[in-house]
């Protein structure tokens, strides 16, 4: 499924030749954890610093809005070099790293990825760097107020505070499934992210009812917590790990072998963060629902027949298209729905698109996030569509808000498929 799987850079091993022994990575007044970070990241940072091409810049959704060179992936790498040289400290750089949705476009557009990527499957790891730098800041006691508050609330309530002043809580995490009689536990469980569980409840209801229509058996978790991914993205790694341990323990206790994921952000967390936390012990199969549904359609187990008279375009969620190389299956699903007029934009052009909703950007920089959403909907408006279809619940709230001014509906792909299957989904598309 993956075009260019992320991989450890070959650089540290293959390009050693004394690079790690040149004595430049001394303390420079940095804390021990910073020194360790710099020794881990110095060669990767030099790979960017030395080339300095900046191909990443115009494809970056944040840079397209701010036009500020120190919000660029190039700067994120160069700062590491400057810290190693003793010119900058983690206090100097930390705030700049909020200006990232971790969409991964920069990695794909990087000449180092494009060129050696074909051969070595190498990929520049800017997203990882941003996550690690945010974590380094937290480890050094440098907090961004919005992130800190968000993660405190998440920690208190075991879910993200997606409803604003309205508290979310463990007692209500399965409310979305009301009336559907979904069992608890089993070999396969459906994991529902915080946004879909509390805000866009129509989405998990659609998924659950489609799977039931196909005869695909699944249950719900005994006690589902937030996946922990947002905490990891914002630098609160200890919290992320605690949440991961809770969820894994819940799966283990119920004998779960397989987890269905409807949210691309969870998919990243379960396929990248959890394996990193738990190593080879993590043997749970992670299934992306949008891929599963495409397969069920291909096998003839689902046949959408109700025509949907809409003129649509499809928004490639960053974490599917750019991070995981998943772009064919959503189009296969849309291709199976009768009645649609589909103005598609190819996945490479969409490298420079983003909803703005990723990695906590709307928490610390809501005005930038909003502008990114508006830019995305401006692109859709040029296609003269009445509907934008997404496959990511986190993108759908901001895009829907931006779509209102442009008379464009934002619809979730799972909900659209359910409609074409004649399912009356129920639930809410907003709080």
């Amino acid at each position: 499924m993956t075009d260019v799987p992320p991989r450890q850079s070959p650089a540290p091993e293959e390009q050693a030749g004394g690079a790690a022994d040149t004595g430049h990575n001394g303390g420079n007044g940095h804390s021990p954890v910073t020194v360790e970070f710099l020794s881990e990241w110095r060669n990767a940072a030099y790979n960017c610093y030395s080339s300095g091409h900046k191909f990443c810049r115009e494809v970056c959704p944040v840079m397209q809005v701010t036009r500020n060179e120190n919000h660029t992936p190039t700067a994120f790498h160069a700062n590491v070099v400057a810290m190693e040289q003793g010119e900058l400290t983690v206090e100097d750089v930390a705030e700049d790293y909020v200006n990232c949705t971790q969409c991964g476009a920069c990695e794909l557009r990087c000449p180092n990825t494009l060129f050696t990527g074909d051969f070595y499957r190498f990929r520049t790891r800017t997203v990882d760097l941003v996550k690690r730098m945010r974590a380094l800041a937290v480890d050094n006691g440098v907090h961004q107020p919005g992130y800190q508050r968000w993660n405190e609330l998440t920690d208190e309530r075991s879910h993200e505070p997606v409803l604003g002043d309205t508290p979310v809580s463990q007692e209500h995490v399965r409310d979305w499934a009301g009336g559907l009689d979904i069992p608890i536990g089993g070999e396969t469980v459906l994991f529902v992210d915080c946004e879909a569980a509390f805000y866009r409840t129509s989405l998990p209801r659609a998924v659950a009812q489609i799977l039931r229509r196909a005869g695909y058996e699944f249950g719900l978790m005994t006690e589902q917590w937030c996946c922990g991914g947002p905490a990891a993205e914002m630098g609160y790694r200890d919290q992320a790990r605690r949440f991961a341990e809770h969820n894994l323990a819940d799966w283990r206790a119920a004998g779960v072998r397989r987890v269905l994921v409807l949210d691309p952000h969870d998919y990243i967390t379960f396929t990248e963060d959890y394996p990193e936390f738990f190593g080879d012990d993590f043997d749970i199969e992670i299934v992306l629902v949008v891929e599963l549904l495409a397969q069920l359609i291909a096998e003839g187990r689902l046949t959408p027949t109700v025509p949907i008279e809409r003129t649509i375009t499809y928004h490639d969620p960053c974490r599917l298209n750019k991070r995981k190389g998943v772009w064919q299956e959503p189009r296969q699903i849309l291709g199976a729905i009768p009645g649609l007029t589909f103005h598609d934009v190819d996945r490479v052009t969409q490298w420079s698109y983003c909803s703005g909703a990723g990695a906590g950007l709307p928490i610390e920089r809501p005005e930038i996030a909003r502008k990114i959403s508006e830019n995305r909907m401006d692109e859709a408006a040029q296609l003269e569509v009445d509907t934008l279809v997404s496959a990511c619940p986190w993108s759908e709230r901001p895009l829907a808000e931006a779509g209102q001014d442009r008379a464009i509906d934002v619809v979730d792909i799972h909900e659209l498929l359910a409609e074409s299957l004649g399912i009356d989904v129920g639930g809410r598309t907003r709080a």
């Binding site: 390009q15 610093y49 030395s50 080339s51 191909f55 036009r67 060179e69 660029t72």
Partner: protein, 502 residues
């Protein structure tokens, strides 16, 4: 010599009034990340080039106000566009104010009748062409930095385009531009006075003067550009040769053929082929008897490209070339043209792979002198590598600059293990650059066809190359920038302000 005074609160406050407080950046990251370009520089000397602050104006008027403030306080100003240049134009040598134009990236007008567009100087060509695509139009300024360099920087460096042999280079494609002088005065510079005129005989032809100055005369803020119909077809045949001399002969026969769709030709020398074979993962290995390569590129209407392509194939075959096939031809041009790709690693003399940055020294060389220049340049690179095991010779490309084959952008690519650069090896590198430039000048060429020539090393030879014209350059500089606030330290222009010693 103009050096930034400590910027007073008064100055910062005036700048904030001019561009808005949030667009005056004083953080260390804002300043450090505008202190470098892709050209190598010893990392331990980074702090030497850090500006005092950065402003990000949104309009010509705001730039003019910043200039007036800077001129009144005698503060150095360095314009920064893409910051992708290879001669340090966007790097401050005497601190001061960086005027970063990236916010001025709007498309102001598209004139399909006269085939022009008017844009802010901070727009990138790839992004511009995304906007032009629905109109079937293209802005064909196509440098290696196409995905990231900006129109204003192309004006400031007088850029060179890969397909310029057909469509022209930046100076041909930019019809006119708004230009803020160091005093804050705004003028429109073009061929004559009309903003959309491509050929005028009115008055002095100032357009060339205000292009390629590396930010030493002022700041371009808005430009009107010439557009072409988006080409229907691209052809990029690659041919292999058993020796350099036959490839050298062939490339000029292709340029001489007079094919209208000819957009450029590239000659790879033996060192380049060796390097690609050794370290370029994207290079599809060829038999050992392949010693040199030639590529020709044609763009235009499909029927015309097809007809021209047949002629190219016949010419190359008669010149002893072996065609490498469609797959390699298309793939290799895509890799080299669309991706700006170099492997970004080289080797020590012992063969150890190490991370290296790519640097190319570029010159304009006549076709007749290419073989000899190549040998002399490789001797310089070889000597450098022998003494310092952090340089690697990555070979020479020569690209046609014009359809007639009169001169070639000739570049020797040198891999530099930048992490290892110390003062001694840096001094040797600067001397090597000077030696490379000396060869170009001695052979009747020009130090730079593309990047500019204001870095340490080659800059010393600029007065030699230009002769009496350099004295006129000094006169112009003094007249336009009486207080030497524009990018001081570049191009030896401090000499314009030296008082004669009795």
């Amino acid at each position: 010599m103009t050096i930034a005074p400590e910027l007073s609160d008064q100055v910062v406050s005036e700048l904030a009034d001019a561009v808005g407080g949030q667009h005056v950046l004083t953080s260390k990251t804002a300043r450090y990340n505008r202190a470098r370009v892709p050209a190598p520089f010893p990392v331990h000397r980074w702090a030497e080039r850090v500006p005092d602050l950065v402003v990000m104006p949104a309009s010509t008027e705001e730039v003019a106000e910043v200039m007036r403030i800077a001129n009144a306080h005698r503060i150095p100003v360095v314009p920064r566009d893409g910051g992708t240049g290879l001669t340090d134009g966007a790097v401050p040598e005497r601190r001061g104010i960086i005027v970063d134009v990236k916010r001025m990236n709007d498309v102001k007008a598209i004139d399909t009748d006269n085939r022009t567009c008017t844009v802010g100087a901070g727009i990138n060509m790839l992004k511009l062409n995304e906007v032009l695509a629905p109109y079937g139009l293209l802005y064909p300024d196509d440098p290696a930095s196409y995905p990231c360099s900006l129109v204003g920087g192309r004006i400031g460096t007088s850029g060179w385009s890969l397909i310029g042999s057909r469509y022209g280079h930046s100076r041909d494609l930019v019809l006119s531009f708004s230009f803020v002088l160091p005093t804050g005065r705004v003028i429109r510079v073009g061929d004559g006075g009309g903003p959309k005129v491509s050929k005028s005989s009115t008055g002095y032809q100032l357009k060339h003067l205000f292009m390629g100055h590396q930010g030493t005369l002022g700041i371009a803020t808005e430009a009107t550009l010439k557009l072409i119909p988006k080409p229907e077809a691209e052809l990029s045949p690659f041919w292999a040769f058993p020796d350099y001399d036959s490839a050298h002969q062939c490339v000029q026969k292709l340029a001489h053929a007079g094919v209208a769709t000819f957009a450029g030709a590239v000659l790879f020398d033996e060192w380049k082929v060796d390097y690609l074979r050794r370290d370029d993962e994207a290079y599809i290995p060829q038999p050992a008897d392949v010693r040199a390569l030639v590529c020709a590129v044609a763009y235009g209407n499909a029927d015309e490209v097809r007809a021209g392509g047949k002629r190219f194939m016949r010419i190359a075959r008669d010149a002893g070339a072996r065609y490498l096939g469609d797959e390699i031809s298309q793939g290799d041009w895509a890799a080299r043209h669309d991706r700006y790709a170099t492997p970004l690693h080289g080797r020590t003399r012992a063969g150890q792979v190490v991370p290296m940055s790519w640097h190319c020294e570029d010159s304009a060389i006549n076709w007749t002198d290419l073989p000899q220049v190549r040998l002399e340049w490789h001797r310089i690179a070889d000597d450098l590598r022998r003494r310092f095991d952090m340089f690697d010779d990555w070979g020479i490309f020569a690209y046609t600059s014009a359809a007639t084959g009169v001169d070639y952008l000739t570049e020797i690519d040198i891999g530099i293990w930048e992490q290892e650069l110390d003062d001694e090896s840096w001094t040797a590198w600067v001397q090597a650059k000077k030696d490379i430039a000396e060869v170009a000048v001695r052979h009747g060429g020009s130090i730079s066809a593309c990047h500019g020539a204001c870095r340490d090393g080659e800059v010393d030879l600029v007065p030699v190359e230009l002769g009496g014209a350099f004295d006129v350059m000094l006169d112009v500089k003094r007249a336009v920038d009486p207080n030497n606030i524009m990018n001081p330290g570049k191009y030896l222009l401090d000499r314009a302000y030296e008082t004669e010693v009795e």
